[in-house]
Amino acid sequence: MAHPKRKISKARRDKRRAHQAISEVTLAKCSNCGAFHKYHNACPECGYYRGRQVISINN
């Protein structure tokens, strides 16, 4: 079976990983409580989505 001829150097390995960064999640401000929530998601703080209570939050 084929095998790697050389160990991948740190530089080469890290260069490969240079493009693997995870992008930041875009957040929106809740119109009800002002907390941040993901777009197209109900607010995790107050449970509102588009001006309507969709889930109850029990803290």
Partner: protein, 204 residues
Amino acid sequence: MRHRVKGKGLSRTPAHRKATFRALTKALVKEHRIVTTVTKAKELRRFVEPLITRSKEDNNLNRKEVFSALQDKETVKSLFAEVGPAAGDRPGGYTRVIKIGHRQGDGAEMAVIELVDFNDVQPEAKETKKKKTRRAGKSSTKKATAPAAIEEVAVDNEAENVVEPIENASESNSVTESTKNIIETLEMNDDSAGEFSQKDSDEE
């Protein structure tokens, strides 16, 4: 010519998938509102919506068709007694899927799927507002109203400015009151509903 792209397999055999949709439908018809994964919720629409369309007209054939899909008398009964008539003239789109974040444990994205006809509270005003802002062509009318509102505020006395927020607060209170009641009835977990109402009163 990529065939078999419709629908999601859900890592199940066809029989297992069918059983899953039956169970979810049974729960949805009974509770009018269930929490499941986004994928299942979205797939469930393909299964339930035709059944609700069938249940709008009560006749032998429709009942037979719906029963053959569900194999559950009680669900068929409540479909034709409640859900179908409530749908009325609605041309499809009987369900609403709202994402509610991730499940702890496996990190699956969760969603609420609900029957629109049983969960219509008061989003109408808000929704139409949002739709208006999205239309590029209608922005002119919005611009026309927005500066007028700002001018009004500027002209108004301080006393009136004080009165306005209070009115808004009472409005939002009544809104949360009505939604709270609905949620209390919908929630299986009474404790969570109680805690929620407590939190609400604190805010007041």
